[in-house]
């Protein structure tokens, strides 16, 4: 078996390379440890400044309530809006709360009249201004502030009238009751590991043999091209499988995340996905014959595919044209499946649409890769 010798050679070269083994070990750790730590969209440390023109006990209560919230930090009080704006420009403050001078007076009148906290449309008494350039902290922070104040006002109202809201809405968060963002990210991160190890590294390897001229030597030997390519892919398939297995272990070790579904489903889907990205890598290596170009196109692809596959933002929030592009990406189906298997315990039957899509993409990419390979020679 010729392929045995070729695979042996690939493994030797892989482990002798100064960077690849380090990458193979470091990458899952970086992906699984640093990314979930960094990818934390919680709103925290929102810096507030309050301009209290009312100076009433009511306005003070609001300020206290805001300051007591664990995700808010009261930077201080200000006299004028200009002062506060300067603080924003210096990036010391994210949200400005302005309380108008007649808040308490108007409120007590309104409550006495209507029995509820509601004023006319243009009679806003509290303004919340947020620096929306920093979208997470500014915008989300402002919404938090508004919520805190609204809740406070509602409470006041119920205290006054001694009533309770008639409609009680209870919410159940299935599959992730503690609402951990990590549970959402970690299963999906395997997609990055596999795309790079099983898709891009073998492609770079083939491009490398082209650049060094070694491929010419192989071409005059009786080794079939298919065998040669296969000998390039198999080591990375093996390494990829081992690395995600380590990934599953790390996910359990650090985050205690274990899949609800079974491992057979996970591995079958991972393998379908591996075949997809291998085909993609081969295509790249067919069309681009220098590292620089290959790397460039890979980066571009990775960026677009990752972002359009629902990795960070919900797929359904994209406009229709974006969803069409996203549907072409194998990453989308793998990310969906991994999240579903891990968190919801989905089975083969549940994931039929994803499996079919992956198989279609896999066939198209690999047929195209084989076709374009033969056309070149």
């Amino acid at each position: 078996m010729v392929i045995k010798y070729l695979i042996e050679k690939e493994f030797k070269q892989m482990f002798r390379n100064k960077f690849i083994p380090k990458l193979i070990i470091a990458f899952p750790f970086i992906a699984l440890i640093i990314l979930p730590m960094a990818a934390n969209m919680e709103v925290k440390n929102v810096n507030l400044v309050v301009i209290d023109n009312d100076h009433s006990s009511f306005s003070q209560q609001i300020t206290q309530r805001l300051a007591a919230n664990p995700s808010m930090t009261l930077y201080g009080m200000c006299q004028t809006y200009e002062q506060a704006l300067h603080l924003v420009e210096e990036s010391k403050v994210d949200v400005i709360v302005i309380i108008k001078n007649d808040l308490e007076k108007e409120l007590s009148i309104a409550m006495a009249l209507n029995g509820q906290v509601s004023l006319g449309k243009d009679d806003a008494k509290i303004f919340v201004a947020a620096n929306s350039v920093n979208s997470v902290k500014g915008t989300m922070g402002a919404m938090y502030v508004v919520n805190i104040i609204s809740n406070f006002l509602t409470e006041q109202q119920h205290n006054l009238q001694q009533t309770q809201s008639p409609l009680e809405i209870s919410s159940f968060y299935a599959f992730n009751p503690r609402l951990e963002y990590k549970y959402f990210m970690v299963p999906a991160l395997m997609v990055m590991i596999l795309t790079i190890i099983c898709g891009f590294l073998p492609a770079l390897n083939i491009v490398g043999e082209k650049e060094s001229g070694n491929i010419e030597q192989i071409n005059v030997t009786p080794v079939k091209r298919f065998t040669f390519i296969l000998s390039k892919l198999i080591p990375y398939w093996i390494v990829g499988t081992i690395v995600i297995s380590i990934g599953f272990f790390v996910a359990w070790l650090i985050y205690g995340i274990v899949p609800l579904g079974n491992f057979l489903t996970i591995y079958v889907l991972s393998w379908l996905f591996i075949l997809c990205v291998s085909g993609m890598g081969l295509l790249i290596s067919n069309y681009f014959n220098t590292y620089q170009k290959a790397m460039f196109i890979m980066f571009f692809l990775l960026m677009i595919l990752l972002l359009m596959s629902g990795m960070f933002t919900p797929f359904s929030s994209m406009p229709v044209w974006g969803q069409y592009i996203g549907r072409l990406s194998p990453l989308k189906y793998y990310i969906e499946s991994m999240r579903a298997i891990y968190l919801k315990g989905s089975t083969f039957l549940d994931l039929m649409p994803q499996i079919c899509s992956l198989i279609t993409i896999l066939l198209v990419l690999n047929t195209w890769a084989i076709f374009s390979y033969h056309k070149k020679k």
């Binding site: 100064k18 970086i30 640093i34 730590m37 969209m41 919680e42 709103v43 925290k44 420009e89 990036s91 509820q116 509601s118 004023l119 006319g120 449309k121 009679d123 806003a124 509290i126 303004f127 919340v128 201004a129 947020a130 929306s132 350039v133 920093n134 979208s135 500014g138 915008t139 919404m143 508004v146 609204s150 006002l153 008639p166 409609l167 809405i169 209870s170 919410s171 159940f172 968060y173 009751p177 609402l179 549970y183 959402f184 770079l204 490398g208 650049e211 590292y291 620089q292 170009k293 460039f296 980066f299 571009f300 677009i304 972002l307 359904s316 929030s317 974006g322 989905s346 089975t347 549940d350």
Partner: protein, 368 residues
């Protein structure tokens, strides 16, 4: 000087003749901007929801009608039980479901109390929270509309929110500086280091160094096309961002350009530094990718807020040039702050630039 000029011309030809690469190079930033600006958002739109209606009364009709008219949700199906809802979650059919108990309206009318349940697929926790609160508010609105119940509206128009600088919450605003940070890092650091190492690998670098041309000229000649490309990209992003996507340019153009230049220099000298320490293109690619690109993406604050990160990551982010560039650029462009507010950031970038240049020049002479 003439030598240098002909040398630079050679490098330019080398790169600009490569049409496919050029094409990608110019399409990429624009494509990324459109992606970030138009395609990606966290807003709820057309999310599939389900309903388990055990009471079949006017409330559920009102509710569905109310929800139907919004662009946030569309009804996927009516389910018979909670277990059916759970299996729909597993298939990914719906993300959220409302369970209306039997005798909902009766309870409401006679006891003046009733309870609803909202089930959400919390595998995406942020989304789940938003969905639950949106759907909850629809329930309240539907209830308020049902004439049979006294209007118990919630507070309030008392609090008004105002978003400074970006009242429409246009995500393209924060994206333009971020795309700049990434593209410039890619073109400068990655492409430069790979292209220099390529010459090393092929042995042509030795040839150049053996010639009587001064080392500094070789470096300048190698870097200048990428410098040009980065400048063109920088301007393209600025123009497309402003005129096509309507991102304001409120600060002084002079300082925007100055900041861009400093960042380009930092990235270029990082690319140069990488090219002096590694011997193979693959290594150059991996190092500039792992040490420069990855942190630029995840630790620069463009995707995730820095304050929430553990201390170690915050420390790493301090030495990531993109962190100092992206935030500062948005302050300059969108907030239009005066220079005095960004002196610190500019200073940090300048120190980085000087340090990197000194180290890489020293390395270049010793190692090559």
């Amino acid at each position: 000087m003439k030598q240098l000029r002909s040398f630079i011309a050679k490098e330019f030809k080398h790169i600009f003749r490569d049409v496919p690469t050029m094409l990608i190079l110019f399409i990429m930033p624009v494509a990324m901007m459109f992606l970030f600006g138009y395609a990606l958002s966290n807003d709820i739109k057309h999310s599939s929801y389900g309903i388990v209606d055990m009471s079949h009364d006017s409330f559920s009709r009102d509710f569905m009608h109310k929800v139907e008219n919004s662009e946030f949700f569309r009804l996927h199906k009516e389910y018979a039980s909670i277990s059916e809802v759970m299996s729909a979650f597993r298939k990914g059919e719906i993300q959220v479901a409302v369970i209306i108990p039997a005798n909902f309206k009766q309870d409401m009318l006679h006891l003046n109390r009733s309870a609803l349940q909202i089930y959400a697929d919390a595998s995406n926790p942020n989304m789940a929270q938003q969905l639950v609160s949106y759907l909850g508010s629809f329930c309240n609105q539907a209830l308020a509309q049902s004439k049979e119940f006294s209007a118990q509206s919630q507070s309030s128009d008392l609090v008004r929110m105002h978003l400074l600088y970006n009242p429409q919450m246009n995500s393209s605003y924060s994206m333009v500086p971020a795309v700049m940070g990434l593209i410039l890092a890619l073109v400068c650091a990655m492409m430069t280091s790979v292209s220099i190492v390529r010459e090393k690998e092929r042995g042509t670098m030795e040839l150049l160094l053996a010639s009587p041309i001064k080392t500094i000229y070789i470096i300048i000649a190698k870097l200048s096309p990428y410098f040009m490309l980065s400048c063109i990209n920088f301007v393209t992003i600025l123009i497309v961002g402003h005129f096509v996507m309507g991102v304001p340019v409120n600060g002084s153009l002079f300082w925007i350009a100055a900041l861009g230049l400093i960042y380009i220099i930092v990235s270029l000298s990082f690319g140069l530094l990488v090219s002096t320490v590694v011997q193979s293109q693959l290594a150059a690619l991996l190092i500039s990718g792992m040490v420069f690109m990855m942190p630029s993406m995840i630790l620069s604050g463009m995707m995730f807020p820095l304050e929430n990160m553990p201390l170690l990551l915050q420390f790493i982010s301090v030495i990531t040039p993109a962190r100092w560039f992206i935030g500062t650029m948005s302050k300059l462009m969108i907030m239009g702050v005066e220079v005095k507010y960004i002196l610190k950031e500019m200073g940090v970038l300048l120190i980085m630039a000087t340090g990197l240049i000194i180290i890489s020049l020293k390395n270049f002479k010793q190692r090559l």
